[in-house]
């Protein structure tokens, strides 16, 4: 690993472009971040902000064409995994990197049993015999809180509820004890009481296994409850990044501030009128040359229309290590 000691994953200047008939779509524009060992990094953003595409680019899950991971480095286990062969990447997926998808209804194969699907990575990556894989699969099901695990292995996905299917997905992702677990909106398709169960499970599993997790969501409430660090994405770029408490206590980017204000509170005083972010997110037809948020930003000034802001530190720590923001506007400038 080049630097940063205990970072399990280090992503630098990742650029992903989709080639479509209507021209290019610049979905991920120079995204850099890292994941420390044992930490949970929350990635928030609206649909189309590039949060899922970023994570799928990392491990080559995007079909190419139309997707094209144009540049960048992704360091995992001492290798730049953007440069390794497809076969080596296949060995990596499901082994070193686990993935939990949003929709547990469609991400499990309906014609194979639950047991079969949990055993698959165990046999493929850990070269276990079928009998041993079955024992391990039952352990995993138990770990994710499915009662009577051994007998449920022969059940099919349709016999499970949404929450249980998501538990199965987590069991599959954990099967080979991955270095990094990427969870892409794992609770979005679930009801709140079931979401609370899954969040509780993740907290337990983290305490037990000390996993490093990237958690993608659009729900700031979920992030506030489980993340150590948060990365806010807008229009394919990281606009703000920092420790969860610092970021929620003093959001720096106008987009983060607005986002936190548009959500009505469930406790405390009730707001008479909701704050809105006027307008729409931009369509990403080219590499941004100016700030992507300028059209919706209440603080936009000349520089925002001329120059795309780079991330700068807020708290004196190096960018990426502490709290940083990609914005020209500063509170000091506004007060001056």
């Amino acid at each position: 690993m080049p630097d940063g000691g205990q970072a399990v994953l280090d992503v630098r200047d990742l650029v992903t472009v989709f080639r479509t008939r209507g021209g290019e779509v610049h979905a991920v524009n120079s995204v850099s971040f890292h994941l420390q060992s044992g930490e949970l990094l929350g990635v928030v953003g609206e649909s189309g902000s590039g949060k899922s595409v970023t994570m799928m680019s990392l491990i080559g899950l995007l079909p190419s064409p139309p997707a094209d991971v144009r540049s960048g480095e992704v360091w995992l286990g001492g290798r730049d995994i953007l440069k390794i062969s497809p076969a080596a990447l296949r060995d990596l997926r499901g082994d070193k990197v686990g993935f939990v998808f949003q929709d547990p209804m469609t991400s499990l194969n309906p014609v194979f049993t639950i047991g079969n699907q949990i055993m698959e990575p165990l046999i493929r990556h850990m070269c276990l015999s079928k009998a041993k894989a079955r024992v391990r699969a039952a352990e995993l099901l138990e770990l994710v809180g499915i009662p009577d695990a051994a007998s449920r292995l022969s059940a099919y996905p349709h016999q499970f509820s949404g929450g249980m299917r998501q538990r199965v997905m987590i069991a599959i992702a954990l099967a080979c004890d991955p270095d990094v677990l990427i969870a892409d909106e794992p609770t979005t398709a679930l009801d709140v009481t079931i979401q609370a169960q899954i969040l509780e499970l993740i907290k337990e599993l983290r305490a037990k296994l000390g996993m490093s997790i990237i958690w993608i969501t659009h729900d700031l409430g979920v992030i506030a409850g489980i993340a150590d660090r948060v990365m806010v994405m807008y229009a394919g770029q990281v606009v703000e990044q920092g420790p969860v408490k610092a970021l929620f206590a003093s959001p720096q980017h106008p987009y983060t501030r607005a986002l936190l204000k548009t959500i009505p509170a469930i406790t405390g005083p009730r707001e008479e009128r909701l704050q809105v972010i006027e307008g729409q997110p931009p369509i990403l037809v080219a590499t941004p040359v100016a700030c992507s948020f300028r059209a919706r930003c209440p603080h936009a000034f000349d520089r925002c229309h001329a120059e795309n802001p780079v991330r700068r530190a807020v708290d004196g720590l190096p960018v990426g290590r502490g709290h940083d923001v990609a914005c020209h506007w500063t509170a000091e400038a506004a007060h001056a």
Partner: protein, 357 residues
């Protein structure tokens, strides 16, 4: 309906909506999915009633049965003086302008082959004899009301974003000056920053046009913002119906309590200190609900009576109706024996509500 308070625009009494299950080679009727199983509530004129619950609890079915998009199995739905559940087809058609719906998925509820002006204008063709010029005038008026640029009148749905499509759906619902609108998860398919725009629009329109809403949603924090009173549904029945502030500050039904405690808050400090009620297991199938209280299989405070007897929705505090045996001691004895008692109490409560809201 005889002694109904004058302020109630919508009165629902013991509404049941069963979907039959046919099975076997002979497709015999072997059971029912009890999507809505005896629901009663009133909506006052000018009020927003929030209807919350998890997926499959029957909240959308209530909304659809109210406007008779489904034929209810039993019960009555009185909207503005007429029992919708029993109206003849032509009478129902003439009644439609009073009651409209905004659907969840703005993509699927707009005809992709119709331009915006036709989508908004269709109810006018159906229910008025206006000429094209007058209709276009009304279409422009509606587009202004929901914040759509008049130049978009000839565009097709695919040319609009999700938030704009929802505005089209709202304009269509407003076309005939309805009194009552069922909003079925109108913001669920939208991004957070767009949700607030649509909710503000709905509130502005309510203030201006005196609309009455049934706001169906699973987003409890948004319901707290928009609703005056909130009904919490669980497995086809109402667990609690309370004024908004009372419900959110002190939920009475154990399910309402668990549901509210499960909502994550965007505040790391409060999140880490919060105690959360984690419900075990999943919602039972509505085809085979538990014998006693529907919530008895997951309730953290369950006791013997809950497993044998279904609790009725009765008033336990002024303005607050709860269906739970825990509060049996404080209720009127008539409440536990049957619905008539409960209904009278409900009416008394609504009178108070009507005055205070």
């Amino acid at each position: 309906m005889l002694d109904a308070p004058s302020q109630a625009l919508v009165q629902v009494r013991d509404l049941k909506m069963y979907f039959p299950i046919y099975s076997g080679i002979l497709r015999r009727h072997t059971g029912d999915v009890k999507a809505v199983d005896g629901v009663s509530f009133d909506i006052m004129a000018g009020e927003t009633l929030g209807l919350v619950g998890e997926s499959g609890c029957g909240k959308s079915t209530v909304g659809r049965a109210l406007l008779r998009l489904y034929d209810p199995t039993a019960g009555s739905v009185t909207i503005d003086g007429d029992d919708i559940a029993k109206l003849a087809p032509e009478a129902l058609r003439l009644k439609r302008p009073t009651m409209q719906m905004v659907f969840q998925d703005p993509q699927a509820s707009l005809n992709p082959r119709m331009p915006l002006s036709d989508i908004i204008g269709e109810p006018l063709i159906e229910h008025t004899n206006w000429n094209a010029e007058r209709r276009l005038e009304r279409i422009y008026e509606l587009m202004d009301a929901v914040g759509l640029n008049r130049r978009f009148a000839n565009r097709f749905p695919y040319e609009f974003s999700g938030g704009q499509r929802q505005r089209i759906g709202i304009a269509r619902a407003l076309a005939l000056n309805p009194k009552f609108i069922v909003c079925d998860e109108p913001i669920a398919a939208l991004d957070v920053s767009i949700q607030a725009q649509v909710v503000n629009l709905l509130e502005d329109l309510q203030d201006r046009l005196g609309l009455t809403y049934l706001f169906i949603s699973h987003d409890l924090s948004m319901v707290r913002h928009i609703a005056d009173r909130v009904a919490v549904m669980y497995l086809g029945r109402i667990a609690e119906l309370s004024p908004r502030d009372a419900l959110y500050s002190r939920p009475l039904h154990p399910y309402a309590e668990a549901l509210l405690s499960a909502v994550p808050e965007p505040d790391p400090n409060r999140e880490s200190s919060r105690s959360r009620i984690i419900l075990k297991g999943d919602v039972p199938s509505p085809a085979n609900p538990p014998k006693g209280c529907n919530f008895s299989t997951r309730c953290p405070r369950v006791f013997d009576r809950c497993r044998v007897e279904k609790p009725d929705l009765v008033q336990v505090e002024p303005g607050r109706l709860v269906a739970c045996h825990l509060y049996a001691a404080t209720t009127n004895p008539a409440g536990s024996t049957g619905r008539p008692g409960a209904t009278t109490q409900a009416k008394a409560e609504h009178n108070q509500q009507g005055v205070s809201v």
